[in-house]
Symmetry: C2
Subunit: 332 residues, 2 copies
C-alpha cells in the first residue's frame, strides 16, 4: 500500500486535524469528532446533520456550511459514526426547531443514527430522519438492506439545507429531502477497487480488462462484472438502469451529477458528461443543472457514478440558493 | 488501460464538448479549441490567457471566469497548445489594454506561446508573458530547460487575474504575476504514474514500495526514487527543499497549496496539510490562506504537490478578491 499517511490507525483523526486547520471558518470538535458551522446553534433554524464512514470526502464534512449541513460526523473509514458522536453533533446544532438527520441507507448508519435520534428525543430534541437510497444497481447489498445511498445524498443535503436556511419548518425540510431522494437514481462503475489504509490492499480484485457495473461506494458488488466498453456505451447502460427505475419522462427537468469516485481524472468525467447530454437529449429529458467532479468518493477507487434527479421548480430554486461549504460553493 | 473514453484520439475534443455543456456560462470555441469568458472582449480590461497540455484539469480551462483567466487553450494530453490556437484566444479576449500570457515553463509551451505573442504583435496586440517555474525539485528536466511550472500557476492566475479584474494596467498585472512566481516554490511526490489514453500504460514504473520524490506533472523524474515514508517525514523533506530554495523566514506570511495529482484521496491531502501546519509553525512561518484539493493534476497519478508562496498584503488582498470559475470560486 502506498498512501500519504502515518499510522493507519490515526488517519481519520489526523485528517480531521488538517481539515480543522484548513477551514478555520468551521468548528471542529476533535473530542466528539464532528464538524459544525461556527454559528450553531442558530435559534429557530432547523438544523441538518449527516455523517457516515470516512473515505467519501468531500462528503460529508466538506458539505458543512451556510445553505447545506449544520454538522457532519465522520466515522472511521467505511465505518458508521457512533451514536454518542451523532448525539453530540445533534445537541450542538439544535436551535430549538428540530434537527434533520440525513442518513445514507447502510445498516450501521441507519442503526446508529436511529439510536442517536432516540437519545436526542430523551433530551427534548425532535429529530426527523431522511433516508437516502438512490442507488438503483442492486436491491440489498453487502452492508445494506434495500438500496444503497450514494450520490443523491449531495442533492438531498443541498436542497433541504437551502430550505432550512430560509426558514423552512422541520416537517417541510424533511419532506423535501425525502422528495429529492425519491426523485433520484444513481448508477456507478468501478474500474479499480479502493484501498483502505487499515487493509492495505484493494477491497476487491478486478482483472485488467474488467469493470464492476453497479458498484457501491465501499466497493460492494454491483450487477455484474463485464468487459470495459467505450464510455458512450457505459453511459447508455447506466442511464437505461436509471430511467427504468425512475419515472423520468420527456420534458421532465433534471439535475445531473457526474461524480468521480476518487481516482478518475476530471477530463474523463467531462467526457462522460458529454455522453450523458447526448443520451438524455435523445429521450427529451431537459438537464436544468449539472455538477461534474469528485463529490461522493470511495478513497482511491477509479470509477464514477451518474445521478439523475427529477426536479420541481421549487427544488431548482433551492438548488440555486447560495451555498458556502468547502466542497460546494456558489452565490453571495 | 481502463479509462472512461471512447477513441483515445478523441478524448480532448470530447471532454471539451462535455465541458462546454457543463459550463454554459463560458464560451467554448470548439473549432479553435479554446475556452473563454462569455463577456470577452472587455474593452479596457487587461486579459489573461493561459494554456498547456490537457490532463491537468481543472487547470487551465477550469480557471476561466471572472477574477481569473479570460481564456485557456487546452492542448492534446501532455502536449502544448499550438500557436494558432493561442493566437485565436488572444484575439478573442483582447480588449485593447493588452494580454498577459501565463506560461508554465516547458519548452513546447514557451515556444508556442512566444510564437503566438509575435503573431499577436503583428496584429497590434501587446502581449506580456509571465513564465511560471516554481518547481524546486530539479533544474532542467525531460521537457524543460530550467525549473518546471506547476502548482504556483494557480496562484499566479488568481492574483494577477484579480488585479486585471479591478483595472490593473498591463505592466502591473504582468509584474504581480512574476512576483507571485518568484515568491513561490513547489515540491511533488508520486506514488504511482499516470496513464495517458494514447499510451495506454503508466508513464513510468515504480516498485510497490517506492515513490518518486520531486516528480513533475507529466511524470518527469524528480530528485530520487526512495522508499515510502510516513506522511510527516515526506512533508518535512518537501518543506526543507522549498525553504532552502526560497527565502521564507520567521513571521513571513504565506499561502499554502496542498494539491492532489489526480488519484490521491482528499482525506490524505487533509492529513498532509495538517503536517504542513506543524512544520511551518516550528519555523515560525504564518499560513495566511490555504487551499487543499485537486487543482493541478497529472491524470490519474497518485501523488501530491506542496506549494508555498510568500505573500505581501497586496497579494493577499487580491487572493481574497471574488473569483467565479468552475475550479475555484468564492466571493460575491
Amino acid at each position: 500500500m502506498k498512501k500519504f499517511v502515518n499510522d493507519p490507525a490515526d488517519v481519520v483523526a489526523e485528517a480531521l486535524a488538517g481539515f480543522a486547520a484548513a477551514h478555520p471558518e468551521l468548528r471542529v470538535d476533535a473530542a466528539e469528532q464532528f464538524v459544525a458551522r461556527a454559528d450553531v446553534p442558530r435559534p429557530g433554524k432547523v438544523a441538518l446533520v449527516s455523517g457516515g464512514g470516512s473515505g467519501h470526502e468531500p462528503l460529508h464534512a466538506g458539505f458543512v456550511g451556510a445553505g447545506m449541513l449544520d454538522a457532519a460526523c465522520p466515522g472511521e473509514i467505511f465505518t458508521s459514526p457512533v451514536p454518542d458522536q451523532i448525539l453530540a453533533a445533534t445537541k450542538a446544532v439544535d436551535g430549538g426547531a428540530g434537527v434533520v438527520h440525513v442518513v445514507k441507507n447502510y445498516t450501521g448508519d441507519v442503526m446508529n443514527f436511529q439510536m442517536a435520534a432516540e437519545l436526542a428525543a430523551d433530551e427534548g430534541i425532535t429529530v426527523e430522519t431522511v433516508l437516502v437510497d438512490d442507488d438503483v444497481a442492486v436491491l440489498d447489498s453487502t452492508w445494506t438492506a434495500g438500496r444503497r445511498g450514494t450520490g443523491a445524498t449531495l442533492l438531498v443535503e443541498k436542497i433541504a439545507g437551502a430550505l432550512a436556511e430560509e426558514g423552512g419548518k422541520l416537517a417541510e425540510v424533511a419532506a423535501i429531502g425525502r422528495e429529492v431522494n425519491t426523485a433520484s437514481a444513481s448508477f456507478a462503475y468501478a474500474l479499480t477497487a479502493g484501498t483502505t489504509p487499515a487493509a492495505g490492499r484493494p477491497g476487491f480484485d478486478l482483472p485488467d480488462d474488467e469493470i464492476e457495473a453497479g458498484v457501491g461506494i465501499h466497493g460492494e458488488p454491483g450487477r455484474r462484472r463485464e468487459k470495459l466498453r467505450p464510455a458512450r456505451d457505459l453511459v447508455r447502460s447506466a442511464l437505461d438502469a436509471i430511467l427504468e427505475a425512475k419515472p423520468i419522462a420527456r420534458d421532465d427537468q433534471v439535475i445531473v451529477l457526474v461524480n468521480g469516485l476518487g481516482a478518475t481524472p476530471l477530463i474523463e468525467l467531462y467526457l462522460v458528461y458529454g455522453e450523458v447530454v447526448t443520451v438524455l437529449a435523445e429521450r427529451g429529458v431537459r438537464i436544468s443543472r449539472r455538477l461534474v467532479g469528485n463529490y461522493v468518493t470511495s478513497l482511491d477507487m477509479a470509477g464514477l457514478s451518474i445521478t439523475v434527479t427529477r426536479v420541481t421548480g421549487e427544488m431548482l430554486r433551492l438548488w440555486d440558493a447560495p451555498v458556502h461549504t468547502p466542497g460546494l460553493r456558489w452565490g453571495a
